[in-house]
Each structure stands twice: as C-alpha cells, then as structure tokens.
Homo-oligomer: 276 residues x 4
C-alpha cells in the first residue's frame, strides 16, 4: 500500500520520469514498524526525518499528529503488523547545476512486517569508511548514501556489515547500530563517533540502565570489536540481534545479548516516549 495524498495500491501510482528526487537525489527516508498494530517510536522517527529535511533545506508542511494519523490509518487498513517506509521527495528547481528545493512531498510505503527467524547471525567489517561528518552529517538519512550502498555490496551472506569511521573508529552497520559486551559491560559507539542516533539503540541503552547493567557510550576501536565477549546489533524491525560470528571466524558468546533481547519488547512497551 502506498500513501501519496491518499492510500492506493502499488499499481495505481506512478512517478514522472523527471521526478527531481529520481534524477538528482535528496530523498529523505525513515523506516518504522508497529507492535500490536501500534506505531513504535513514531515521534522519534518524525523528528529525525525533520532533521534530515533541515539539512537538505526542506520543510515538511505536515505536523506530527497528521503524520501519525496517516500512518496509523494505513496500519488499520492493512490490519497486520506493519513495516513502513516513509520517504520525502524534494520538489523545486533541480538540474546538474542547481539544487533549489521548494517544497517536498511525503510518500508512504506500508506492507506486512514479515520477519524470517534468524539462526546463526554473521557480520562482517566493511572496508568502506563511513562518510566523515565534515562531508555529510551522520544523521542525514537519505536514499543512496554512497558509503552505505558501497558497504552493502560486500555483504554476501552476512546479516549486516559494520563500518568504521573516517579515523578508523567503529561506527555502525548499514541499517543497524553496534553494541559489544566486555566483562559484563555494554559498550556502544557514542553519537560523536559519527553515527545515526538509532532509536532502538536509545531504547537498549535505557533498558540496560533499567536493568542496572553498565553502559558506556564512547569511541570504540576495531580491536575492541574483535576482542569483545559478545556483539549485538540493534535496528527498528528486529530490536536486538545477537551476533554469532564476525568476519567468518570470530565466534561470540550471545548470553547477555539474548537476555536483553528477551526483555526488549516488554520494556519498550513501558516507555511512554515510544508511544506518543
């Protein structure tokens, strides 16, 4: 189902071949999901979308409650646990020479959330560095970020690939945040490492605090990744994903990761900010 002013089926909607977003880029996006048919962390996603848009010089002429209503309406039509991709396409004077946005349009893609069970989760470290914030803000979430595209290319049978930053610090996966466990302590790259402020990441930090588990947000070295006791990824659709193997040879314990995963869904349901 597609929302483009109104809810339509995929075949009812087409794009102009000269849509500026298609020809010149600058399409912002967010990925959301529901729990029990209720939108999870919609406010966080909406605000992160506004941040991306402001980097691009765009303003969304739609307040949060309208945004929320449209999405919730779609979920109710579908009547299923949903995976939602929201994109904002710029409008304006674009060419090879110009990028003068004037307005933008929201499009929503909504479909049933289907999660295949995960067995043995493999992760790789990419040799593509995350783009430095001096070139592109870490929280600019647009279609076709070249670092992410290129890193994804080497994914093979891995669940996700982890990218290092411009100084070689550990950053994040192409669609997930990275956590390691060392001697019972949970460690994750700080926002100033040059990462996207993941919403699940934030919830996991709160969960650890709630469980009185030590959490450190700071720069993380590649050596710490390989020397970790455990590693897990976090992202919207799956929450916490314990990692079994890094780079095809490094096996991890998954005890604390699995424990946190088992507590995750109940915990996030208790956090008011996730359901505004």
């Amino acid at each position: 189902m597609i929302w483009k002013g109104t809810w339509l089926s995929k075949d009812e909607v087409q794009l102009n071949i000269d849509d500026p977003g298609f020809l010149y880029g600058g399409i912002a996006y967010e990925t959301l999901r529901t729990y029990d048919l209720k939108l999870f962390a919609a406010r966080y996603h909406y605000e992160r979308l506004l941040t991306t848009l402001s980097h691009l010089g765009l303003e969304l002429s739609m307040d949060y409650s309208t945004f929320r209503e449209i999405l919730q309406e779609g979920v109710e039509k579908l009547k299923k646990e949903s995976s939602i991709r929201v994109i904002v396409v710029p409008r304006g004077r674009f060419s090879a020479f110009e990028y003068e946005p004037a307005g933008c349009e929201l499009i929503v893609y909504l479909q049933e959330l289907k999660l295949q069970p995960l067995n043995f989760v493999k992760v790789k470290v990419s040799n593509v560095r995350k783009i430095d914030p001096s070139s592109t803000p870490s929280d600019l979430k647009v279609v076709g970020r070249t670092d992410i595209l290129l890193a994804k290319r080497s994914k093979g049978d891995a669940y996700d690939v982890v990218m290092l930053g411009s100084h070689g610090q550990v950053c994040e996966g192409t669609f997930s945040n990275v956590f390691i466990v060392k001697k019972g302590k949970v460690i994750t790259p700080s926002l100033d490492s040059g990462i996207l402020p993941g919403i699940t990441r934030l919830n996991v930090i709160k969960l650890c605090e709630n469980l009185a588990i030590d959490v450190e947000e700071r720069w993380v070295e590649p050596s710490e990744l390989y020397g970790a006791d455990e590693m897990f990824l976090t992202h919207t659709s799956r929450g916490i994903v314990p990692v079994n193997e890094l780079d095809g040879w490094r096996r991890f314990n998954t005890e604390l990761g699995k424990f946190l995963a088992s507590k995750f869904e109940d915990f996030i349901k208790t956090v008011k900010e996730n359901w505004l």
Copy 2:
C-alpha cells in the same frame, strides 16, 4: 525526449513508484553535449560511466557503438545542439537491508542545449568537504552524492561552489573542475586530490600543452585559490568559464582564462580522441 528502449516524449514514460533506484539510490549518470550536432567525447563519458557502474557492481550490457548510435539518433531526431543526461538505473534485490544488483537499465534524457550568456561569474568556497575516497571513490558519479547536494545548497547567486577535500585541499566544483593561474602558470588539482577526472579538464590540460603554457597537476592549497591571479572552471556544457569573483570580494583577472576559452572549441575539434 527520453530514450527508454526507444525514443519517447516525456509524457509517454513513467516510473514505477517502487523503482529501486528511486527508493534505494545507486543511479549512475553522465552529462554530454554536442558540437555541430556531433557527440563530444562520448567515448570518455561511456568509459567513465562503466567505472561508476563497476564501483556499484553493475555491468552495462551495451557496447560503446550501440550506446553512441542511440545518442546520435536522438540528436538527429532533435536536429539541435543537444544536452544529454544519461542515467543507468540498477535492477535487482534492494531493500533497507539488501543491495544486490542484477542488471541495470539505461535511460537517456535529451534536450536542446541552451546556454545563457554569462556576465560576471561568481564562485564560492563551500564548507562542505568532498567525501574522502576511503568512503566513496571520487569517480563514482551517482545521483544524490550527499556532499555535492549539500554543497549546492549554499550556492546562492554563485555559478558554482568549490569544495575542499577531507584534508582541506582544493578539489573541484559541484559540476566543474577548478584551475588557477599564477605567474603565467596554469595549476589544477591532481586526480589524487580526490576529484572526478573531468573530460573538459583533460582537454584544457592538452590545450595548454599545445600552446606551450606550463600546467601543473598537484595538490592545491586554499591559500593558492585566494592568492591566484586568475581562476577558471571547466565543465562539459560550457568548456572554460573564467571566474570574476570568489566569495563575494576576491576579484580576479580573466586574461589567460579568456584566451584559453577562445581557443577551446577549435582545439577540441582537432583532438581525435574526442570524436571516436
């Protein structure tokens, strides 16, 4: 006019709303032009396109002579000096989690080349750094490179904005290469500064050599930009563009730039490689 398997008018072609290039990026492009209705440097552009595609894991199943014929056919239909935008859209399994290209499709946009006369050419230096090659190869020419998009945002009434590289070295404009003149010598950032290997740039270097003017390709410091006697930009549609003013206050002489511009068209017509 659009070529998508065959030549059509803009209104006859539409895109699916879930075109992977639209939703996930990875659209390669090149911009070409004609001189006297003949394609300029088409071979260079074709090969640079292949380079971009190979970075993306894509292969174009179309050899150069077919590529050339299609473009030339379009020009002959239009019967006008043409500006041509060629894009290659990936096909395959794409999602928030995957980028597994399988094939790609060429689309050609062709329209009359209209160049407004330029009077007083202003240029700015952007504070957005060019993406470092460790994150994205400099010769990956895709739609929506975020560094270029963000740099274009601050263009205002400037003709183009010049970007510095990740170490602060002078790189290039968002659609042009940069040259300076100092004491009769022509200086331009070397390819290893992290720039796109511009085709007009290459022709200008050859032109200087042909005219026995010293040319240096090397890392250029911002201080040299401000301290230059002259500055000019080069790009496909206009060839050589002498710059009158940098950052709203630094005025340049344009003597050598204008002289080179006056020789440019005749010169490139004599270079066999441009017309293969």
Copy 3:
C-alpha cells in the same frame, strides 16, 4: 639563568649526552612572562604543564606554590621583566624500544624579556596540517612537535605561520592563537578545532566580553581568514598582535585589533585568576 635544583648561570650546568629527553624526546614545556616583575597567569601555565605531563605518563612532584616560588625567586634575582621557559625532562627506562617514564625533572630558563617593536606584521598560512587529536592531543605541549617544527620552516619573514587542521579548518599559529574580525564580531577557532587552549586567547575572549564585543568560538574556514576585515594573533610574550598582511598580498585593517591591544594590559591586571 638556569634553575636545576638551584639557580645557576648557563655555563655552570651541563647535560649528560645520554639524557633520555635528548635521545628520545618527551620534554614538556611552557613559556611564561612577567608584568611589573610579577608572574602572569602562572597557575594556568602550571596546570597546562600538568596536562601535558599526564599525557606523557609523568607526574611532577612539585606543588603549585613551590613552582611559583622558584620562578618568582628567579625574577627577583634578575630584577628585570622576564621571559621564562620551563621544561620538564622525563627520567626512566627509554630506548628505541621502550618508553617507561619514572619521574621527571624541572628545569627553568629565565632571561630578560626583550621585545623588539613590531612594524608591519606579516603572517602566512602553512601547508603543514596540525596533527589530528587522534594522533596527538592538541594540548600536548612538548619540544619538537613535528607539525610545528615543519610549519616554522616556511616562516621566512613572517611573524608566525597559521596552520590548518586535519580537515582543513583554521587552527592556530606555531606559537600563537588566531583571531579574525568580521563586521565588528570577533571570531576564533574553538578548542575542539584541535588547538592549544591559549592563556592569552582566554584573556582576550574575556576582554571582548568585558567590552561587550561579540565573540564566537567555533570552527573557522580558510575562506573566512582571507575574507576577514581584521586578523590578530595572541601569545604570552606580546599579548595581542594585529596582523597587517596575510600570504604577502592580503592587507587587513587593524582598528579593532589595536583597540583591544591598547586595553589588554590594564584588563589582565584586573583579572584575579591571572595572579594566583
């Protein structure tokens, strides 16, 4: 005059040829001066010295009041406005293979402060980048920092050379901090640009605030240096040094710089923290 446990003349003191600081480096230093025979900002310098020592794994077994007394005693012996270089030489197991500091020794060089009048102050921008904090903390003030040494080499007849940082941002001179003036506003690189926290810099910021002049501490681009209305340097021995010319061609106004310089000495005498 040299203090090495006690005050001696230069000829009375010698070093062992295998002094580890000489052979393996790691010598911390600070440069102080007096006003009216009283030590200026000695506490700040002492604390900055401790920071450098802690980066090196060294601890100075001398508290501030003893440190201060020794220096003041020297000044009183000399009975002249003094320029003081304090160095701390590491002791321990050093070799090509090891750096295991065990203790350190303070040496003080004290001589009359002689300042030649400055006429036309020239400054250059170096093409040597400041070492990135990921390699060496910006506030590690040791003898023989290679970036400073190499930048100094191109000084020629300039008063100081300004270094850009690893991303091309404006940092500081080899012995001074940099300020620019634009439309009546005073702008200086923020500490997170990767600069030494200059003590005179701090006093100048306070002076501006005291005079209700806008001061911005933030990342500064090279373009802003060349486009500034004024530029001035600050360092301990001279306070504020208005710059007349940058890179041999860019002339600056010096009005606000001279005004601030005229207020500087009276102001710093009123700031209690400078005389602790």
Copy 4:
C-alpha cells in the same frame, strides 16, 4: 662509546643545557647494527637519514664513505657485534618563535648488541593513530615523534604496539614494520599507507620473492590483522620476529614467520646493496 668529532667514553662528553635540539627538537636519528662486525645496510640508513634531514631543512656535510668509515672504526674499537644509534643535532637560530637551522652535528652512540632470547611475543594494537603525512612525512625519523611516544606508553609487556593510520589502516609498530600471512600469502602495508620505509621490511620482501612466496604491498585493514594466519614484525636489530599473540587473546601460528626468520641472515648476506 660516543663519537662527537672523535671517539670518547660516555663520561667524557656533555651537552650544553641550551643545545637547540634539546630545547626545540628536530633531532634526526637512525639505528644500525652489524653482522659479523660488518655494518648492515649502512648506505640505506645514510640515505634515509638524508631524507629526514632534508625535511628539516638540514644538510649533512659528510659524504657516505666518511660516515661509513667512522661507524666502522667504532665497531673495530669495540670489537663486538654492535648496536649503533646515529643522531644529527641541528644548529642554528632556534627559539619559541624561530626554527632557522644552520648546519648540524653528527653524534654516534655505539654499544654491544645484546639480544635477549624471545619466547612468547605479544603485540598490541594502539589506539594512537600514526600522524597523517599531511602533518608529518612518514619518513621523518626524529626523536620524540609524539605519535610513537604516546603509542609506546601503552606497551606494557608487549614486544611492540601496532599503530593504525589516520584512516584506520594498519601502519606499523613503534620500531618495527608489520607483516601478516594469509593462506600462504605474505601481506604488508604499502609505503603509501603512511609508514617508514623499513630496511629490514625491504629485505624481507626480497627474501619472499627469492623464495617464490607471494608478497602483497597494499593497504591493510584492521580486520585482516585479527583474521590473519600469522603475523610477524621486522626491524633492524632482530630481523624477523614472529608474533605469538595479539591483544592478549588472538593466537597466531608462526610457521612461515619462523621459516623466513631461519633464512633471513643467510639471505641478507647475499644481497650486495646491504654491504655497500
């Protein structure tokens, strides 16, 4: 034994307390050794010393044959396998404000080469990045390079610490070059990774070629270090040092490293360039 114009014992030589090298840095050095009382690779070391000096704006007024003679004379006096540290101390106008070298002085430290047997060789990866070449050339071999000093601090019981470069690429140890072995192939960071052109490194590459073992010089990722089959270090005094353990947990096979080490001494004796 010290050579300072003539051979003296350590106690016969002292330094002035205001030696510019001591106070302001810029002391070049090289470390050599003998095999069978003959200088190994003296010409390479001499030339590398000249490179360092040229970066510093210094010229050594001593040709290679004189340099060689002095060192060989020392070895003959000592009549023992020797470890030699050669330093070149700058002379000129140095101060906090100036670095204007005018001449320099060679000092030689010579002592018996004593190598303790190595059992279990541990190595760590440092979190101090190698200084980027834009700040300091990789082949500037001076006393007190702050990156090396700071990396050495965390050595603990490790034999050496490996430093990553400014982009996170594997560079080298604080006194050694790094090699890994993967599937029978020997891999070492290329010179453009930002490393010192090690003389033993060069000999090891030649040895591998001589033994028809594949050698790759290229950028090496941290992931490759941890995923390697073997790792070994190379440096002048010991030649090849197979590594048993990285970061306290990653154990390596040492088969090929030991094999190469067993061939090393005989091989280098056959290479004419080592004995010029």
